[in-house]
Amino acid sequence: MDSDEALYARVKQGDLRAFDELYTRHAARVFGFLRAQVGTHADAEDVFHEAILATLESHEVEFDRGSFRTWLYRIARNIVLNRARSRGRGAQALVKLRTGDEPAPGAEETVARDEMLRALDGAVARLPATLSDVYHLRSSGLSYDEIATVLDIPLGTLKSRMNQMVNVLKEELKPWTTAR
């Protein structure tokens, strides 16, 4: 099986089958990541389109400084941030508040597993942008090293954010985990 980097080189020579293979490998996860960062499905598709093309066209992509996947996430995230800045909302506004997913108040009875998962979704949606990035990149299967490269932060900072993120989620899920 060809590596992502080999497929990338072939796409740049006009090989659309290589593009199809790269798309199959990464589209769903990258789109999932973007979908969590921007407000609507249509916006996510726009950013997705732009991110893939920018990654393919970029002259800055060097695979000794990160894998194809790392570059793709990094460029996608930068596009999201740039869009937010250009709209004057700031990076913090990237987090989509889905108030409809908030857990029902005062739930004392045992809750079903899918309710806990919905609560998890709600908690994730409320994470601040710095922690939300960590959650979604990790859920997309990126290693700690890759995530640190995408976010351009030291590994120690990443580990700290990972701990913060988990603690926030644990705290938010407490009503569901202690109700049993």
Binding site: A9, V11, Q13, A28, A44, S139, K174, T177, T178
Partner: protein
């Protein structure tokens, strides 16, 4: 055995590998003997790993639009194929082999040239000065 609520409270940190060694060990021991918590953990893991990608995909239209853009941008032309061939990555062993050939040519070149050079002629032809007379030395009457 730890209480289910304690274990379930640690499932997120266990999944993201931020749990302490003691917590991780407790979770693993508990999951072996508690089907309910094991199911909860598997559901949580599946849910997190799949994330939004299972629930939301780029549309087929978006895929086709992107594919067309890639095709337009990177259409395979002879010039692009040639450039791709020229800038293709070369394996290390091929580079080393090429360098060795160049070094050998540089080192052995003079010796080979000496062997191939024809021997000097026994009687060199007498040199004839064919230069034209210098104008300043001629007197015009």
């Amino acid at each position: 055995m730890d209480d289910c609520s304690v274990i379930q409270g640690n499932l997120v940190s266990y999944h993201f590998a931020t749990a302490s060694d003691d917590e991780r060990e407790a979770v693993e021991k508990h999951l072996v003997g508690c089907t309910a918590c094991l199911r909860t953990y598997l559901a949580l893991k599946t849910h997190v790993d799949r994330g939004a990608r299972e629930r939301d995909h780029p549309s087929e239209e978006a895929r086709q639009r992107l594919r067309a853009a890639v095709e337009a941008r990177f259409r395979a032309t002879p010039a692009r194929r040639l450039r791709g061939w020229l800038v293709r990555p070369v394996p290390l062993y091929q580079g080393l082999a090429a360098a060795a050939v160049v070094l050998a040519a540089v080192a052995l070149g003079p010796a080979i040239a000496g062997v191939l050079r024809p021997p000097p002629a026994a009687h060199a032809a007498q040199r004839v000065d064919t230069a034209r007379p210098v104008a300043e030395s001629m007197t015009i009457y």
